[in-house]
Amino acid sequence: MIAALLSQVAQNDQLPPLRVPQVEYKAMVPELVLMGAALLLLLIASLNRRRPPVGSYATFTAVAGVVAGVASWQQWRDVADHGAYRAVANAIVVDGFSAFFLLLISVTVVLGALVSDSYLRREELDGPEFYVLLMLTAAGGMFMGAANDLIVVFLGLEILSIALYVLTAFHRRRLESQEAAMKYFLLGAFSSALFLYGIALVYGATGSTNLVEIGAYLAQNVIVSNGLLLAGMGLLLVGLGFKVGAVPFHMWTPDVYQGAPTPVTGFMAAASKAAGFAALLRVFFTTFGLMRLDWQPVIWAVAVLTLVVGSTLALVQSDIKRMLAYSSISHAGYVLIGLQAGTSRGVAGSLYYLLAYTFMVLGSFAIVTLVGRRGDALHDLDNYRGLASRRPGLALAFTVFLMAQAGIPFTTGFLAKFYVITAAVQAHSYAIALIGMLAAVVAAFFYLRVIVVMYTPTGDADDDAEVAALPRLRLPFGTGVVLAVTTAFTIAFGIVPQPMIDFATEASRRLLF
């Protein structure tokens, strides 16, 4: 073995020189903006010894997010005008689908930074590091959305995950935060390893890691014994299913969502889930599109499990973050319904669902961040008792998000469910459509439970005194902006749905292949 290696080293000069592919930086502007901004922020912060004005890190991050968003929008226009293309030796793809996710993740960066600002100051954790990690996470997620090669998917996944592990542990004085990070890291490392092994098996079966080439290989060849390929696909599903919190790979979700600093939870629920689904949808719908009959039953089972487990376990939670964690699991189930349909409408439904979900979940966690107060500890359902009489505006906004998550008409939440259900029915998957709707009924129960609690005054005199002793909840500017944007989005596009439905549909149509 060693001898063989040595002999290779000896022959090293005879090997052909390593070919460096041409790098089209233009195809990766949004990702590079965020990465560059992250490095720049780190550099400035370490060179500049004086404390910058309050909120400048967050502003910097939000601006970087906006720039990345504009660049993504530019890509979207570009694809609409000139069609999709591949770049960097076919490892990166620029199509409507990728531009959709780049935009979505840019939005989460902006909104995430705005919520984090006041939180970090409240918890005395303010510093550039948090924002650097936030932008790196987002850049990783963007690479997952734009990847055209399993290796790039893996790179994106790792950039995203590692930054997210640190963000989870970011609240140094909260033991739960440390514990959550440790759990997330250990389980995440396993899932990454499985994902990597899945790549290896798929490579073994098809001879490529490139998504297009795998697809082309499968189109041109009939694999007689496809055990290797199926095992590889299964492992890829495990890795990505872990990231999106699909049952049975969801075990980490409640603990990590509960333990992580609340703005990180919101960001994780939005960006990380979107990135995971970006990869999952692209890999399964397009690359393994011809293997549809093999993966559809598996996705069906995973989706049903996710819906059922997510909505039933949420029923018994008394911690709002845990409850929202289980609810986010059940939301993943709906996105999977769209994938399970295996049609263009299904993918469009999944995209629309993710779009609606991102705003609902960011808004929800923004409110949880506020109510958690200093110490980020008041997350019991009882802490919401009588919120409507203390902060009617906040209670109303939370009601909007919860109602939207329950799928009440004239919100984006309803249309999202409607879209995926439509796709399932069109593909004649009536059973899963019905299961999805019934899971929504179960889910409505725990969303309503929170609303009931908010609108019932505290009965207990001790509780009243306790609540009265707390200072009045202050609504920081950044969080206010986030709440205004997210509620406006949720209601306005619930009433005038055409623009966002067009957006999601176009994104699904402009998948490269």
Partner: protein, 520 residues
């Protein structure tokens, strides 16, 4: 005057129906902007908003072409291109009086019972509810209907949970979840219907009329989808096995909530069965009629029997609704012109009389702070006016000839007897039982010598009399002279029965005018 002016505006292309749906919702939004402590302004704006909406419904009634069977005042705008969903509203003889009923009951419900806390949210929710109810009755697009049908849950939920009695949290949650459960089936059925109707290259559409004309489903599939719709509507009606949310919701809701719940919301279920059940699935509804008729008859007798043994006056009225709604379903699935016309008329009648009953029970509760029949007695002596009004309304609910309840029930039983004799026979026991529980309750509450607690109660105030006057007036008017109403209902009903005959092998047995007289 105002009505005439508005009628002119309508002729000039005024989107009357859209205005009807949006006006209350816009007023609710305006109220949301008024400061919380200006309850005087809020009350006036809220009442004016619902009265204006009521006037719009009256305008529609005046402008309505009596002898036309099709949809009138139709407006259509594309809403979601992707799914072929459009904002399409229209009015025909079946929905006309339900719309007017909504327009009349809401101002009464707002003006009647007083609300003590958080007047602003209460009135805003009531107006949203009004808009949602009108939207459901007017929608001619399946998805728009479903959206409004579901939307009614939210304000009603908040009204019960926020302003109800002791057990309100439980009752409101039960109401919400039961209905949502039914809707889950309906939505899947609805989407399945729409997609299965695209067979043969037909474009995707949620348009009710187009889908009803297409009739593209195989008989077996249509039966399944009809069942999915029926589950959704049965919960709302409510029909026998899924009725258990109703007594709780009605009893715990504040008075105005009960009035609207019984008067308008329950009609969404029966209206849905007519508009979406019979119209979209003529053959399947003929095939499955025995099932629904049986459930209706069970509801009639069971509701009446359970009402008899209630100790709570409001709960008694609630269970009487189960029985009365059973009659409406019975008439609907009898598949005769008389039965269906009677059913639709009875929807209006039930809205008037049960709405009035809930208002009266609310008035008693406000004075006496109890609804237990055992604790009430001799109220006729202390409150003669209230007792008299209660008597009229109660007799209308019993179905006394000369009051509105009789006309509807008679037509229903007549229409059912022709096609489903034994169901009609069993159902007619419901009429007798209604007399039993209502008269007995009246006797216990109003007759006799008042006890100490019941002696010094004030009679109806002028405001309360003003609120009851239109209801009692309509109850008497419809009982004596239902012709103008039936004239407008009948063309649409004939049209619907014809549609059922066109698309199934069912034929309505001929009933000549002579026979009617003989039967009577």
């Amino acid at each position: 005057m105002i009505a005439a002016a508005a009628a002119e505006a309508h002729n000039a292309g005024f989107p009357l129906l859209s205005a009807m749906v949006l006006l209350p919702i816009v007023v609710a939004a305006v109220i949301a902007l008024i400061p919380r402590n200006r309850t005087d302004i809020i009350k006036v704006v809220g009442l004016l908003g619902s009265v204006a909406t009521g006037i719009l419904t009256i305008v529609a009634l005046v402008d309505f072409d009596t002898h036309a069977a099709g949809f009138q005042f139709v407006t259509q705008h594309v809403w979601i291109k992707e799914f072929g969903v459009s904002w399409k509203l229209g009015l025909d003889g079946i929905s006309l009086f339900l719309v007017v009923l909504t327009g009349v009951l809401f101002p009464i419900a707002l003006a009647g019972p007083k609300v003590k806390r958080d007047v602003k949210s209460y009135i805003a929710w009531m107006l949203v509810l009004e808009g949602a109810c009108l939207g459901s009755f007017l929608a001619l697009d399946l998805l728009v209907f479903f959206l409004f049908f579901e939307l009614t849950l939210v304000p009603m939920y908040f009204i019960i949970a926020g302003w109800g009695y002791e057990n309100r949290v439980y009752a409101s949650l039960k109401f919400f979840l039961y209905t949502l459960f039914g809707s889950a089936f309906m939505l899947v059925g609805l989407v399945a219907l729409v997609f299965l109707s695209t067979k043969g290259g037909n474009p995707l559409t949620f348009d009710l009329v187009t889908l009803a004309d297409r009739q593209a489903l195989a008989a077996d599939t249509a039966r399944w989808i009809f069942l999915a719709f029926a589950i959704g509507f049965a919960v709302k009606v409510p029909l026998f096995p899924v009725h258990t949310w109703l007594p709780d919701a009605h009893t715990e809701a504040p008075t105005a909530g009960s009035v609207i719940l019984a008067g308008v919301l329950l009609k969404l279920g029966t209206y849905g069965l007519v508009r979406f059940g019979l119209y979209l699935f003529p053959k399947a509804s003929v095939d499955l009629a025995p099932l629904l008729l049986t459930l209706a008859v069970i509801g009639i007798t069971y509701g009446a029997l359970v009402a008899t043994v209630q100790r709570d006056l409001k709960r008694l009225v609630a269970y009487s609704s189960v029985a009365h709604l059973g009659f409406i379903v019975l008439g609907t699935f009898a598949f005769t012109s008389q039965g269906l016309s009677g059913g639709i008329l009875q929807m209006v009648n039930h809205g008037l009389s049960t709405g009035a009953l809930f208002l009266l029970v609310g008035m008693i509760y406000e004075r006496r702070h109890t609804r237990q029949i055992a604790e009430l007695n001799g109220l006729q002596k202390t409150m003669p006016v209230l007792a008299a009004v209660f008597m009229v309304v109660m007799l209308s609910s019993v179905g006394l000839p000369g009051l509105n309840g009789f006309v509807g029930e008679f037509l229903i039983l007549l229409g059912t007897f022709v096609t489903h004799r034994w169901w009609a026979v069993v159902a007619s026991t419901g009429v007798i039982l209604a007399a039993v529980y209502l008269l007995w309750a009246y006797q216990r509450v109003f007759h006799g010598e008042p006890s100490e607690e019941n002696r010094n109660l004030p009679d109806m105030t002028w405001r309360e009399r003003g609120v009851m006057l239109p209801l009692v007036g309509l109850i008497v008017f419809l009982g004596v002279y239902p012709k103008p109403v039936l004239d407008r209902i009948n063309p649409a009903v004939e049209h619907l029965i014809q549609h059922v005959q066109d698309h199934s092998d069912y034929r309505q047995p001929g009933v000549s005018a002579k026979h009617e007289v003989v039967d009577e």
